[in-house]
């Protein structure tokens, strides 16, 4: 049975980066698919990959990660840089982040406006 857990941004907004990532990774290790409101800071996304690699063993093989967010129609350089700086400093409530264990999620496919999540049959590890 698949478990999808929604996490509102308010639930992680007061946590520091280390605890945010730990919370998300711990849920993924429990075979839950996380639907997070908003997205992590740029550096947190990279640190999430790093922490995931540190956690990999024969049973936990990693995560699938997908982020979808509205870019808006203002594609000016100023707006892009402004949005980037806001994200670097604060993270963002806009859009959604999907994180799930790689033993359950086969692939997350994206184009700019939609996201598809493909699951696979769960293998039993020895």
């Amino acid at each position: 049975m698949l478990t999808l857990q929604f996490i509102p941004y308010s639930e992680i907004s007061n946590l520091d980066s280390e605890h945010r990532l730990k919370k998300l990774l711990d849920l993924a290790k429990e075979d839950k698919i996380i639907l997070l409101e908003g997205r992590l800071k740029e550096d947190e996304e990279t640190q999430l990959i790093k922490k995931t690699m540190e956690s990999i063993n024969e049973k936990f093989t990693g995560i699938e990660l997908g982020v979808i967010y509205p870019e808006g129609k203002d594609h000016s350089l100023y707006n892009k840089l402004r949005m980037l700086l806001v994200r670097v400093i604060m993270g963002s409530r806009g859009g959604f982040t999907i994180i799930g264990p790689a033993n359950i999620i086969k692939e997350i496919k994206k184009d700019p406006d939609k996201i598809q999540l493909f699951t696979k049959e769960q293998k039993k590890r020895k």
């Binding site: 990959i49 790093k50 990999i56 840089l81 980037l84 994206k110």
Partner: protein, 208 residues
Amino acid sequence: MFDGFRNFFDKLFMNLFKGKKKIKLGLYGPPNGGKTTLANKICQDWLGEDMGSVSPIAHETREIQIKEQITIKSKGKELSFNLVDTPGIATKIDYEDFLKFMDEKTAKTRAKEATKGVIDSIKWLDDMDTVIVVLDATKDPYSQVNLTIIGNLQARNIPVVIAANKVDLKKANIKRIEAAFPQYKVIGMSAKFGTNMDGFYETLISMA
């Protein structure tokens, strides 16, 4: 905020290659995009030797590799740098994926080394002066690993060029990569067959 903009443009236009004795040019990207094939092509063209081994099995490069003092030349100009080939960045590594190519013990060792390789690649991000993100032009460019790597480089003010590799393959689609990353220079190439290497070298030098 103004300082942030100024630093970004300073780094982009002023410090990219000029005046630095040991520029680090990093090759980053997902596994099997062709980073080491490109590194080998660059090293063969300018040093007459290979940099690392390549394989159709993912995570062949599991350690950071550095080739120092490469000087490339194009149209009367030249550029010197230290080339850093990095292990492919991934969010998952399962030793069972390697089992069809090797025995279980070797597969487990490879998986363990590969996870360490990803960690090292991420640790080295801050040390890069410029990064070539090597993408397989036949694959979906919107994968989160690509977006995370490039977003991170952007946040760190590290100039980026995207190498759309494997254009010799039928399914290659450079336009899809250009559409995904409109703010970056995308160079279509085949590192394996040396297609458009002149254009690649010219682009690197023109950024200096």
